[in-house]
Amino acid sequence: MSHLSTLTLNRYRYGELDDREVATLRTHLDGCDQCAARLQAQENNRAAFELSPVPDFISSLAPAEPRAAWWSRWQVWLAPALGAAALVLIALPSGTAPTDGLKDPDRVPPEITQTKGAKDVLEAWLETDRGPRPLAEGAEVGPGARIQLRYRQTAQAWVTFAGQDGTGTVEVYGTFPAEVGEQGWQAAPFALTLDDTAGIQKFYAVFTSDPPTPESVELSLAKEGTVPGGETESIQLNKVR
């Protein structure tokens, strides 16, 4: 006896079958307890699913039009990207506005209007009252500084962001599809706030064809400062008190 496939049952639930297919399916369901039970199982899953909230990462993939202020878009990513780890970088509390000068969205500059140099692939930008400004390699930054990473599009499909403090500890912030942004640049979908410890702070962007595991990236960066099979870019800052 031929049964209804899992895909057909799903297409029925989502209203993708035509009238003739629906009639055939219903006739089958009337005489087949097994398929009727499988359909009921799908409907039960649906009911349970509707009770659960939409994950943050899904909301972050929603259309950005009209665009919210850039800092509020980043915050959507903070929880999944950074977790609750309290290492060198501290996530902004949800709903916290950035510095006073940036509370007014009208004063917020477009997300990517300039880059600091064509030779770099990874840049770190500091949020200031007058808008973000690029940081040079080795630049000094103080506690509470808000940093945005920007990257230039490469041929690779995925980008993984990570940081390394003066102790050598590597933390992976997250892996994301490498998008093409304005002028070929794109901002990392999160912002970072520095804590009050002094020392070097290195940021990495690792471009790969497939999403790597966080463990493999952490291990490779800690050992070699690069990830085999990927393109590793970095920028180092100097945290001061």
Partner: protein, 166 residues
Amino acid sequence: MSLDVENLYRRYGDMVLGRCRSLLGNDAEAQDAMQEVFLKVHRYQHSFRGEASPTTYLFKVTTTTCLNRMRTRRRKPEELYDEPPPIQVEDTMLTSSATRDLLNQVLALADEGTQQAILYHYVDGMTHREVGEVLGVSAAAIRKRIATFRNRLKDNPPPWLQEVDW
């Protein structure tokens, strides 16, 4: 205009998550796989827009994503997730334990194209013609792939292979 992934998730997320749970048998990994599926949809949204059936497209992407993860498990067992509590899956043709066994067998014995064909046929109950339509090959080709796989198991056929006949 960007694809509204959140609306897609609200409409089809239950199928994607359920599919991930069915194939991976692990809630934590299923959540990760679901995220990966919607990231792919977001990234390759132009190909998604060309699909007549969003359900079929997402079903295929989810299946491919889960099979990729299972292949990675086999190559890198050190990256295994914690041993999962058994998930009872009820919308497939096979029981959860039979599905686990089938996946282990098929990953060891078959090429990637055949892996999908076997999965769609035995776990999801698709006919040869339906599998062929999903994979873009003829029903005869699917029949041949499945027969080859069955032949490899003939000396020690698992229970699920003897019970199913569709």
